[in-house]
Symmetry: C2
Subunit: 230 residues, 2 copies
DNA sequence: TGGCGAGGAATGGCCGACAAACTGCAGGGA
DNA sequence: TCCCTGCAGTTTGTCGGCCATTCCTCGCCA
């Protein structure tokens, strides 16, 4: 389960719960691209005040998931195909750096985590559980980012990661997911061999192949390409 | 002038003005590292309500300039030397990517901007105007990021850039600033030759040399290294 | 003497309300 | 017919206030 209607989780601030709720709705496509999110309306729907909603929207704007124009409100950011490519391109460098840094310092525990994430993903693919697969996929890369020991890498990664989720949600059946798994396997192998250079190169190639998928495999994404090119 | 006491600028939201004000105070060192920023106190000082202050703090937290703990308030983030190194390392990849992408598509206007930023920086160095120099420095790199045509590069860059300013503020007289200028010159030349590979390599080397400055040149920063190394 | 719990002050989180700003539309004049 | 102007509805940005939690101090008890 990801999230139903319930919001409160323990003593966590309301705004954080709302942020997660909105993120879920966005990456799952409940909110259409470009759709407007009205603070007061959402507040009424959730039976809370405007303030926490406002804060959640600000956080999402900082992540780039929504766009806020002064005095004109927030709307779900529709990443153009170009932007998703842009993000993948940056990810190719970030993930390569992460892999290079992580390789020599991977603990046995972390390797175990990576193997688990990888087999989770394999299982999800066989079960055709694409949502679960995106989560496992994100997890795989997140572990590497964390194990890089570089806080800036972690932060940048977590900012860019939601875009990847949007991608897979949009293109799920079209993309050759088995290829992603194989690439992950290659990265995993290189990391276990503590071959930093190879791991970095494979991580980079992986993201670049994701980038290129936006052209070839996905008709669904292409329709977003509305004059964003110069 | 950067900002005095006045806050309002045109019809811009209050929170944005406050954000700039706080950023100024932080990078200029008016707020000590780790110092607490109390919402109600600041609101009273500026004779406004809590809400815009709160929002500004949230924005700064998203940038990593302050740290907010739930129910425990905000404090100025003190980047450890390790973290500044981390950021520089990420920047080395981001800036290299930016330079590589920008090289083949640089317009004449953009090149002119770059030359201007470079000579501004030179002038500031001669005038020993270190604050102006940080601004010109930031500008130089920002132009390249913008001209990369990759929105994700731009966004990530703008998130990481304030850390660099902290760096120079902290280390101003200690670092061999002339070296930075020479490196900028090298990047500029490569860009004008539209040599993407060379520009990228020089941009990367530039940031890595910044990273290494945290060890050699600055005693002021070293005191922050409190067990953050593993 | 030292640890521990009660009590008070400080402060963040959330609320409900309101004014200013923006949007869209209708009506009048060129 | 087209553009400018005024009006009404909607929504943001800001306000002031209240409650709950956290932090700190002080007195109690072992």
């Amino acid at each position: 389960m990801s999230s139903e209607t319930g919001i409160a989780i323990g003593s966590e601030p309301l705004s954080a719960s709302i942020k997660r709720l909105l993120l879920d709705r966005i990456v799952n496509g409940d909110y259409g691209p470009g759709e407007r999110i009205v603070e007061s309306r959402l507040a009424k729907e959730l039976e809370i005040s405007q303030s926490p909603v406002r804060e959640a929207l600000r956080d999402l704007a900082a992540m780039g998931m929504v766009e806020i124009e002064s005095r004109r409100g927030a709307r779900v950011r529709q990443p153009t195909a170009k932007e998703l490519r842009d993000v993948s391109e940056v990810r190719s460098e970030i993930d390569a750096l992460a892999a290079r840094l992580a390789a020599p310092r991977l603990s046995a525990d972390a390797m175990e985590e990576l193997r688990t994430a990888h087999s989770d993903m394999t299982a999800c693919l066989e079960a055709k559980d694409y949502v679960g697969m995106t989560e496992a996929d994100a997890n795989f890369h997140r572990i590497i980012a964390r194990e890089s020991g570089n806080e800036a890498v972690e932060r940048v990664f977590s900012q860019l990661e939601p875009f990847a989720r949007t991608f897979i949600t949009l293109t799920s059946p079209d993309v050759e997911l088995g290829g992603i798994l194989r690439q992950h396997g290659g990265i995993l192998d290189a990391l276990m061999d503590k071959d930093a250079g190879l791991a970095a190169e494979r991580a980079r190639a992986h993201q670049l192949s994701v980038r290129d998928a936006f052209f070839d495999d996905s008709g669904a994404v292409e329709e977003f390409l509305n004059g964003s090119d110069h």
